[in-house]
């Protein structure tokens, strides 16, 4: 049994296909040395992977395992990373697939889950500032929860991670026009959710 047979199909196919269409600009941009070691990638991008998995809807209880899974795949596949896309795009692609895989099994197991308040700590020096940030994060995650998976994904990539559209389209395996349309819908839905949230909030505090 070869190693690759154990990979989820999505990961396998996506990673065996060369990433196309992009020029090699990435490494300098990410400040990652040319010879990428696993440690380098882990150190430089742990936060990114963690945060992305969380924003894609992985609950705190499962976050460690999902992030770990991502890096296990990275570890296995790093040699195949050719620098044709940015390392973050590549990592996000892996994260996305692991998260999707996790989502499927998590839904089967326990259906929808609540936002875990423990996941919403925030760092900062001043308690007030911290509380404010934590509140913003909580709100953001609640709103993200209202988007369907497709829209959530593109929203996270475009609005939270500021990825560029061609990278997004490629990661999602759709053409750029489709991606734009999807993003537009995601933004709209997010904003509507925000309006609803504020309205509920206002009623509560009246």
């Amino acid at each position: 049994m070869g190693a690759s047979t154990h990979l989820p199909i999505l990961v396998r196919t996506s990673l065996s296909e060369p990433l196309s269409g992009q020029k090699a600009l990435p490494r300098a941009r990410e400040g990652v040395p040319t010879a990428l070691s696993f440690e380098d990638v882990y150190h430089a991008h742990f936060r990114f992977v963690w945060r992305s998995a969380k924003r894609l809807g992985v609950r705190e209880a499962a976050l460690d395992d999902v992030v770990q899974e991502v890096f296990v795949v990275v570890h296995r596949r790093l040699a195949e990373f050719e620098g044709r896309s940015t390392i973050t795009t590549w990592l996000f692609g892996i994260t996305l697939r692991v998260v999707r895989d996790h989502r499927r099994s998590a839904r089967r197991r326990d259906g929808a889950t609540e936002v875990d308040p423990d996941s919403l700590r925030a760092e900062g020096r001043d308690p007030a500032e911290r509380a404010e940030k934590a509140q913003a994060v909580r709100q953001l995650h609640l709103l993200l929860d209202e988007l369907n998976d497709e829209r959530r994904e593109i929203f996270v990539m475009a609005e939270l991670e500021q990825m560029i559209m061609p990278d997004i389209a490629e990661t999602l395996g759709v053409n750029v026009n489709t991606a734009y349309a999807r993003l537009r819908a995601a933004r709209q839905e997010f904003e509507q959710a925000l309006v609803r949230y504020r309205a509920r909030d206002a009623r509560r505090f009246k």
Partner: protein
Amino acid sequence: MSELGQDARALVTAADGGDDPSFDDEARVRRKLHARLKVAAAVGAGASAAAATKSAAALTSVAAGLGGGAATGGTTVTAGVSLTTKLLLAAAISATAAGVTVVAVRQEASPASSPAGTSGTPRVASLRATPSLSSASANHASIESQAPVSPEVSAPPTPAARAPIPTQSESMPVTARADRTVDEASTTPFPRKATTRAAGPDRHVQNASISPPASAKPATVSSVPSQVPAPPAGPDSLSREAALLRDAQLALLAGDPTGALARLENHAVQFPTGALVEERRAARVLALCSQGRVTEAREAAQAFEREHPRSALTSSVRGACAGKR
């Protein structure tokens, strides 16, 4: 195309950075990953995947039992190894809290010497707890459990389960290795090559505990590189490290940088070359800033960047004293 509205944009900005991982998160996942990649390496080194899987499951169930049945059964099998580490830590910590000192967690797995053995031989884990004054439950218990393969069944930590400690002369160190990795944590480089072969503890292999895959062939002791016995008696150093750092961080969050620094100092004395040195140094910078010792903090930050040039904590460290004069 329309941009994101102002309110939504403001929210996104406000939340920015608020969902980043903490030091603890990074350190914890790194440890687990190390453990997992190591186990994978051990599997690649000749131990059968099934044996590793099952011993992980067995260890998990023991840890779960010790932890008071906190076996969050939702443990996907994938999580076998990582969960093991997690539960071990949790168990060690909760046991310590209850006044029980976990002297050693040791596990011996016999090699899968026959096809039947692969699925039939129970992995035996022995776990000794010495009671302290406050300990009500453990009574010089040598908790002995014939750990079943399934993680759902937890080994009851009752003295009734007492049985002679197994002496399996041909026991295979795969799981001892799993223990060890916890100790070695971040100081060891990831065994890169090994894991390419060892698709290792991912879920498909994990399923092997139910039906051993073709690759589950007898493992020879000689094929396992270093046969290291279980760690010497004493509380798991890594969990103590983690506990100290966690305390320091809590103190820092509670606005008590002095207390935080004291704990960090404590860590520095106890674990000068511990697995979490990097985290300690980063936390120290933050604590110094928050105490107002800006110059010292800056020096410490520079030293940190020199010594850990690729640390993911660099940006936190660098920005620690921002806005302070």
